[in-house]
Symmetry: C2
Subunit: 472 residues, 2 copies
């Protein structure tokens, strides 16, 4: 069925929707994409600075699939590790991997989206329609109701299949939710924290005012600031802060004086290179951080949710876009199986995929606490040093949880989570009991023994978990 000239309607021309359009176009489907926003290649949408995102190996696997690896590389700024800033402005770098070729990248959402739109549009069988807002989806009849923002008129489109890649606020998901006969399991979970984007501009020569090839973090336990580099020499800075709790929170930061005093106290080195802080703080919105999970993703063979529409996550593992891109890779592999109909395709897709998007959602929340708090704990820093040594000495044998999630694109997220958590637990136990310790005298033989111990204890933990889950 998949090879017939079928009409596929995609809602949303964001990162997921435009990659999906490109890939389905490459496969020969007739693809129509409806997007509520104007064409981002023709208008400057972002009120503040453009947003950048972390791009890593899972996303890159999708770029390889569609033949765009090299073009995307040109948009990327490598970030080799976390540059951690303390309250005195002192910094230290904690790398993401002990293997030189493993790093993440800062990429502009708009640049990458524009590339995908251009490539998709090169296919005659792919068409984009902008300024068309989806209002609801009749998933029983595979039709969608749109409002044309230009003419202000409503119109209905039908298709053989409708795929919603319309983000965390998905209209198809809302239509599932509102249908009384459809048993739709659904969750939205907000953190107590929100976020606000700010910026560090380049100097007069266009040079970066902080180390370019790192993800900067100012971890302060209950809140944090981060910064990612842009190609133009600026950094996009994000403040993660509680709405209402603690000494400092978004509700109480009501005046420019308070904001500046807060930064002076907590992020003095950042303040020095953020002259626009006070005005940006009140110009830019404060946005919530939520996780969305749901099931089923599809209604029969008619409609399917993909990307954030199916599984929005918090940004702390830098995996939101990568997971959405991986969705397309997973769906593509199932299309290769030529199952008998779309319902079988969608069912198989969700069965294979949901366990992994659930896992990255949970890992992303773990990483919120890691970034704002754990990175400054001595035992955490010791663990990361040990892991760097192990990855360097035993590059094919040792992979930290971070490496499994971020750099091992052929390892499923849920496997990375289960193994990675057990391994973390084993290492913390070994470090806190003193069975493992590293210092300047640590030899290669020591490291070999440590690796064996970690492997052994990790397997023990995994076996115990398996036994505990198999009681009957």
């Amino acid at each position: 069925m998949n090879n017939k000239q079928q009409n596929i309607l995609i809602i949303g021309a964001g990162l997921c929707g435009s990659l999906l359009a490109l890939r389905l176009g490459q496969r020969g489907f007739n693809v129509s994409v409806y997007e509520k926003r104007p064409d981002l290649r023709k208008t400057n949408l972002s009120a503040g600075r453009s947003i950048n995102l972390a791009f890593s190996d899972r996303g890159n696997k999708a770029m390889k699939l569609v033949g765009l690896e090299e073009k995307v590389k040109a948009l990327c700024i490598p970030m080799h590790g976390r540059m951690i800033h303390d309250k005195n402005g002192d910094t230290f770098q904690s790398n993401y991997s002990g293997r030189k070729h493993e790093y993440i990248n800062s990429v502009s959402r708009n640049d990458l989206n524009a590339l995908l739109l251009n490539e998709a549009e090169n296919h005659e069988n792919v068409n984009f329609y902008f300024n068309k807002k989806c209002k609801s989806v009749d998933f029983q009849n595979t039709t969608a109701l749109f409002q044309d923002y230009d003419t202000e008129k409503d119109f209905v489109e039908d298709a053989d299949v409708i795929i919603a890649a319309d983000g965390a606020g998905s209209v198809l998901r809302k239509s599932y939710y509102l249908d009384k006969g459809f048993l739709f399991s659904f969750s939205q979970d907000y953190l107590t924290h929100g976020y606000k984007e700010l910026s560090i501009l380049p100097n007069e020569n266009g040079d970066y005012l902080a180390q370019k090839n790192a993800l900067h973090i100012w971890p302060r336990k209950n809140f944090m600031l981060i910064a990612l580099p842009n190609l133009d020499g600026s950094f996009t800075v994000t403040l993660f802060l509680s709405y209402d709790e603690g000494n400092y929170n978004f509700s109480s930061l009501k005046t420019e004086e308070k904001v500046v005093a807060f930064f002076k106290e907590e992020f003095p080195d950042a303040l020095l290179i953020m002259p626009n802080l006070a005005s940006e703080f009140f110009k830019n919105p404060t946005s919530p951080l939520g996780t969305i999970k749901c099931s089923p993703w599809h209604y029969k063979g008619n409609t399917l949710l993909m990307g954030d529409a199916a599984h929005a996550i918090v940004p702390f593992y830098g995996q939101g876009m990568n997971a959405a891109f991986e969705d397309v890779v997973v769906l593509d592999a199932i299309l290769n199986k030529n199952l008998e109909h779309w319902e079988a395709t969608f069912k198989t897709y969700q069965k294979n995929r949901k366990i992994d998007t659930d896992a990255i959602a949970d890992l992303a929340i773990d990483n919120f606490h890691e970034m704002k708090e754990h990175v400054i704990a001595p035992i955490f820093q010791e663990k990361r040093k040990l892991e760097m040594l192990l990855e360097k000495k035993f590059p094919t044998q040792y992979h930290s949880k971070y490496a499994m999630v971020t750099f091992n694109e052929n390892l499923d997220y849920h496997v990375a989570m289960i193994r990675g958590r057990a391994q973390d637990r084993a290492i913390f136990n070994l470090l806190s009991s003193g069975e493992i310790a590293i210092n300047h005298k640590t030899t290669n033989e020591d490291l070999e023994k440590f690796l064996e111990k970690i492997k052994h204890d990790t397997n023990q933990i995994l076996e115990d978990q398996l036994k505990a889950g198999l009681k009957y």
Copy 2:
């Protein structure tokens, strides 16, 4: 503030709403309760047979609080254990406790609700308004919009405080959800199984056709039938079955022949006393089984969700009504503290209470698998036998998870869950390793040793969990 003559509007006159009205009436508040259904004391609502529920010690604690313990007792049929029916119609009973005074009760929802309505109405300051459907709540302004089913007119009521006890489909919860500015975390999770109510009628003399003082279960791994006694000699029977999966499911049971063949194969002894099966099966609805969690329960000091509106759970622990009643006990205790305003009261209430309703939600899902599947596993049966012996010999020292949840009304649900799960794990490990075994030669000294081992291993598991959660 709580002692002032304030106007409290309650949405819903079900079990939770009418108990709450009674208690707040006793405390002297002006209480108005709006209910969308007609007065159940004047109309026979239930198309099929009346539904019965499990009533146990947490619910009873609330009845004591409002002075109704004896009146409720008169409505109760004690159920001392599970009567388990195999495919040959052979049965064995597995008691709920080794302590004679610990049992659960079957009670009619309507009888109990009518009692609470009558008692609440005895207070001049409590008024009920039936046939008034709540359409939405303006929680910023503490007003609710109703439709009067008699006059078909809409009207708005305001109050100092609005408390929604309007069940799993709560209108206040929906108003929270639909408000864009309000960060409302929310989940609804459906099981793959639905349920259908059926019945076993009494014989010509009005006598019960099965053992009266038990909860009957026909566990079949992927589905099950249960039956609870009613005062009139009948049983309310419930079939829990997948909607779509397995050899038998609701979608495929489309004809009377198929239904009867299914029961003949799987529940032959039940079929013999269910002459109305085929007609009831197609007359009565198939309903979903869902868990609802959300947060926050309140908006400032204006509005609050209670009972199923805040935390609907699946019925397998027999705790839905008990948890809703316990909500009233917990809120009442916080009212006793005379906090400065309603917002502090509601905040404290949720802070104390949500951890417990989350726990009973998860326990109830565990019990679905226990009832339909685990109860027939030899190791599970051995564990229950051991637990009965321990509870009998050491009545003040040993409490099974079931007993902690069901009979220890002063132990919070979340503590019962954490301790009970660790204890279950310890016992399963000890039984499967052979360190504990019971047979006709088991002596009191053996049991004492077993108890010590179980206590020791349980504590060890709890300590390990604590350590694993305290890594930084």
